[in-house]
Amino acid sequence: MEKKINLTINDKEVSGRPGMTILEVAGENGIDIPTLCHIPDLPPIGACRLCVVEVEGSRTLVGSCHTPVAEGMVVQTHSPKVIATRKVLVELMLASHPDACLVCDKANICELRRIAADLEIGLPRFRTRKHYYPVEDENSGMLRDMSKCVQCRRCVVACKSPGGEPLFGMAYRGFDSKVVHGHDQPLGSESGENCDACIEICPSGALQKVRKTGEERADRALIIKG
């Protein structure tokens, strides 16, 4: 029989198998930890930090998507400290995010917006300059609006050209960091084969479907709890 690892999550005794992350074990036990950069079955990215949890004995909060479970671990996934940290993280993402939800095609299915609503984030506390990049619509399968990118790096890890080459990488530095293709060029026609999967993994409106006039919007209207 396979070895079991016993730990405590939110005062509940649970167990996982060796190699599993805290996020995976929590998920199996019905505990929902928010994530923006995690993609199941792909190597963890650890960029968004929203999955942070409190682990007893650890000096800092740890990212649950890339921390393996260990015997006797005591984890809190929704303690006041964790919630406060998640709130600030999302507020910082929103601080440089364009106020364009009203006209954004992905507003109804936007993960960033849903998580902001779940965490009950209200009016912005932080004010900073926004990113303004031209919308890249040269490709027939995918529209890129990097002003809306939160740099979760999901597309960097997941998006491949039809030939299997990674399509995107990170460039520049600090506030100017940006997900780029080639020499920071718009995606040409060469890679517009099957982009729907990549558009779906993008948690914001940065990657969108090229929508034709009259075509239906994705999903139902987002209902914000209030």
């Binding site: 080459e165 990674p166 990488g169 020499h183």
Partner: protein, 146 residues
């Protein structure tokens, strides 16, 4: 501009920065062709090489002027009013950060810490350090570069 195989092929990925520095020394900036050539010889996507080249403020993917001004924008210089220095340079040359004068005499860039914090605010012109700057000093300093 760069014929195939003009650039010393990198030994491995760790060697990439050295090769990019060599390209910059030789051509004054890192042209697209060089990035493509380096990417091909390492068998990695172009965006990875571009990512490295664009990360470092001393590497440029665009052609530069004859003289390159790099005003430090890190915290110690900022606290010593580096913004006033940037404004003085902007006013003197009529260009903003990242731009080159139409005559190609100067390129004005912002750099991360250049290690001259004890004499902040500081800037480099080409390889010459200029320290303890005030807006009044800028005109004379720039005048020495043709």
């Amino acid at each position: 501009m760069t014929g195939k195989g003009v650039i010393t092929p990198p030994k491995d990925r760790a060697d990439l920065v050295e090769r990019l520095k060599e390209v910059q020394r030789r051509y004054g900036h890192v042209p697209e062709e060089a990035i493509a050539e380096l990417a091909e010889s390492l068998a990695i996507p172009i965006h990875e090489v571009y990512g490295v080249a664009s990360f470092y403020s001393f590497l440029s993917t665009k052609p530069l002027g004859r003289n390159v001004i790099r005003v430090c924008r890190s915290l110690p210089c900022y606290l010593k009013s580096a913004e006033m220095i940037m404004e003085a340079v902007e006013k003197e040359l009529d260009i903003g950060p990242g731009e080159t004068t139409p005559d190609g005499r100067f390129t004005f860039e912002l750099a991360n810490c250049i290690g001259l914090c004890d004499h902040a605010p500081a800037m480099l012109i080409n390889r010459d350090p200029h320290v303890d700057l005030t807006p009044e000093k800028i005109k004379q300093i720039l005048g020495a570069y043709k």
